[in-house]
Symmetry: C2
Subunit: 436 residues, 2 copies
């Protein structure tokens, strides 16, 4: 990239929306990222930073001058700043706290009190609250006055929150009702009391489920005493849902969802080595099982040719069941009360397919090796390992979940170990017993 | 379940929110589902139906009396009804159309004109539009009048849409601005013109991305002439995001995201047979490769013991790269301009790990079989197959995407075929050349 290109790119980027800039930055390797980063205005930097994967955030923060960072993050929304705060260098944190006025600092402390992945960590603390005994007219006047004084109302405001004298949550007055009902109505008569307030320590995952099930645009957050402390808006919930999905998908390959595509090689290699190492142990266990049957393989080398088929087909069948059951667990649709039925259904499905594929492989084995008994053993072992796959695919995620381990992360590894070991053992064992 | 239990369950369910009822229904096998289904009131049935997986919808629709179905779906929102419509029996469709008044029928036809997975299919057609030359006061009076006449305003309304005399989209007037700015302001002076209208044929996926990037609560939808035809609200977008994530995850195991956990056995088995069949073909190709080296295995049976390790480690390394690259493609972060860099980085990462694991397996091979040359061949083959995995994991999703095939669906299968075939070939080939 020469200077002219860079300037053109910078002009183009500055005109872009921060999420688009973030997406572009993530698509570039580090040396270009830094070139682009340096061309962004400080406020843009802040808005871009919060959209990046954490691994990319860390890299850019490390490469930025403290003064620049203070300027970049000082203008952020409180909840975004709270997310980013712990990733900033100490001197930047101190400087950021000093730039805050009293109100902002109080709000920041209110959000920072709760972990990121809770309702408290997700909330905005700029909720507009009105009293239940006010008239709609009074609320309208209050909103106009607030707007005149502060220049703006909170972002994504679709409702005001109704509280009593003690700041206890009472209900929600939607702006849609506010603009369309008679101005002399009393707030408490027209407010929506069906929306239950969300306790601050509710998990982000549960918050997302509530927003989905009740089609919410925003929801009030209360502390342990039922006192209103903020509101969650749906745009933050959308991010939670996306991150959750990303987490599940990346977990199945032993990756972290905040991974940077262009992370430096050594740390990337380190993290992936763990996953490769776990799988190497599994592979050696399976190899050890094969090793127990060396004599059989020496006598009938066809066993070595066919055994990977038995192992891999069990793994495939198991993965299908595992994926379905893991989704069911995530949706609370699979539990102790119906795991037995799920297992029976999965075994039923795989039995039908086992019949089909056993006939196929028996025929192929017989044609290939002109050995009927080999074909029968091959088919029997395949049938057993398909059933084994369905069983392991049901029980493993259920058991992992019971043990508090994320089935999306560990399920695949444990399943493949099971279907490999049992697949090799069944095929080689049956062959040794019946053929030799 | 006896009658008493059923009645208690029914009372409990009726009091529940439809998404919760849907979730419960999906967790039950078919015979219980039908028992519960029959206990639900018709309106509840409609609200529950739209929350179910399509496969479950179809089953319950097939088991319902037409009259009941008409009652169940007649009260649904237009966009929900349009989603469900094509799944209903013909007589129910006719009856539903007949229950509609003229306005509802027109709206229904407007939504039905567009495929489900487009902005047009997602939109609500009850958008409230106001003229740019009106005052805020006039808008407020209009909204109050509409509310008096119709009893309600559209759900999830956070803004009214501003159009000109020819119904051309001009901008958005948020209710937040409407309630807080002076009543004598002119709409066109205070409206937000930054929100671009979404053409009706925009894909649902792209709509979701727009909502995420711009933190939208709602967005206007226009036809090919720029005429306002509806609005999309964020609650429908949340469903799109969830379904998209579900689709990706289920695809990686060759499953459909609308799969019912308790689908009847024969159709389930049929669908899964395709995936198992594809994998069986792959496994036989890999077996054929092994078959070419039967003589080598007969001479040195250790090859049969160690070869699955080489194949599976390549698969694991490849899956990690594949997952990262597939995510990058979905986010438009991987394309022709940087695929070379991604490949170089992935090869860099795997080279570091190849060194580590080659040393490990060489040591283990030598200790196990007291054969230094075998250890060296084992390590070399593992190194080559790890590099192969990283290369295949980068190139396969990129190539599939270019060919218009979903990398999430086909990537894993093609990758495993590659790493198995090349893993067996490399190890057995090197062994034949250097050891025998």
């Amino acid at each position: 990239l020469n200077v002219e290109d860079l300037n053109r790119a910078a002009a183009q980027l500055q005109a872009s929306h921060p999420p688009a800039i973030a997406n572009t930055l993530e698509a570039f390797p580090w040396e270009r990222r830094l070139q682009i980063w340096q061309l962004l205005a400080p406020q843009t930097k802040g808005a871009v930073l919060i959209e990046l994967y954490e691994e990319v955030q860390d890299g850019l923060i490390a490469e930025s001058v403290p003064d620049d960072l203070v300027k970049a993050v000082s203008g952020l929304d409180i909840d975004d700043l709270a997310d980013l705060y712990k990733r900033l260098p100490k001197e930047v944190r101190t400087a950021v706290l000093q730039t805050m006025d009293e109100q902002r600092r109080q709000r920041f402390e209110a959000v920072s009190r709760y972990p990121n992945n809770t309702a408290g960590g997700l909330m905005d603390v700029d909720a507009i609250a009105v009293r239940g005994d006010a008239t709609l007219d009074a609320v309208l006047r209050y909103l106009r006055r607030t707007r005149r004084q502060q220049g703006e109302l909170p972002e994504h405001m679709d409702a005001v929150i109704v509280v009593d004298r003690a700041s206890q949550y009472m209900g929600i007055l939607s702006l849609s009702d506010l603009v369309s009902l008679a101005e002399n109505r009393i707030v408490s008569e027209v407010m929506n009391t069906e929306i239950k307030p969300i306790p601050a320590m509710t998990s982000a995952k549960k918050v997302a489920r509530l927003f989905e099930d009740y089609d919410l645009l925003s929801a009030p957050v209360v502390d342990e005493d039922g006192k209103l402390i903020g509101r969650i808006t749906v745009d933050d919930v959308v991010d939670v849902i996306r991150e959750e999905a990303d987490h599940t998908l990346m977990s199945t390959a032993g990756l972290e969802e905040e991974s940077d595509m262009f992370a430096p090689i050594i740390p990337s290699a380190k993290r992936r080595a763990i996953w490769l190492g776990v799988n190497l142990v599994n592979a050696f266990i399976a190899a050890w099982v094969i090793g127990q049957f060396e004599n059989s393989i020496e006598q009938l080398v066809a066993l070595a040719v066919l055994m990977p088929i038995v192992a891999s087909m069990g793994g495939i069948a198991g993965t299908q069941t595992l994926t379905l059951v893991t989704r069911g667990i995530a949706l609370d649709q699979v539990g102790p009360s119906n795991i037995g039925r799920v297992l029976r259904k999965e075994l039923g499905v795989i039995s039908v397919n086992a019949l089909l594929f056993a006939l196929t492989v028996a025929a192929m084995g017989i044609i290939w090796y002109q050995n009927i008994n080999l074909g029968l053993v091959f088919a029997s072992a395949l049938t057993i390992n398909l059933l084994n796959g369905a069983m392991a695919g049901t029980i493993i995620p259920f058991a992992l979940h019971k043990l508090g381990i994320d089935p999306a992360l560990a399920g695949g590894v444990v399943l493949m170990a099971t279907t490999d070991v049992l697949g090799f053992f069944t095929f080689l064992g049956l062959a040794t017993f019946f053929l030799l």
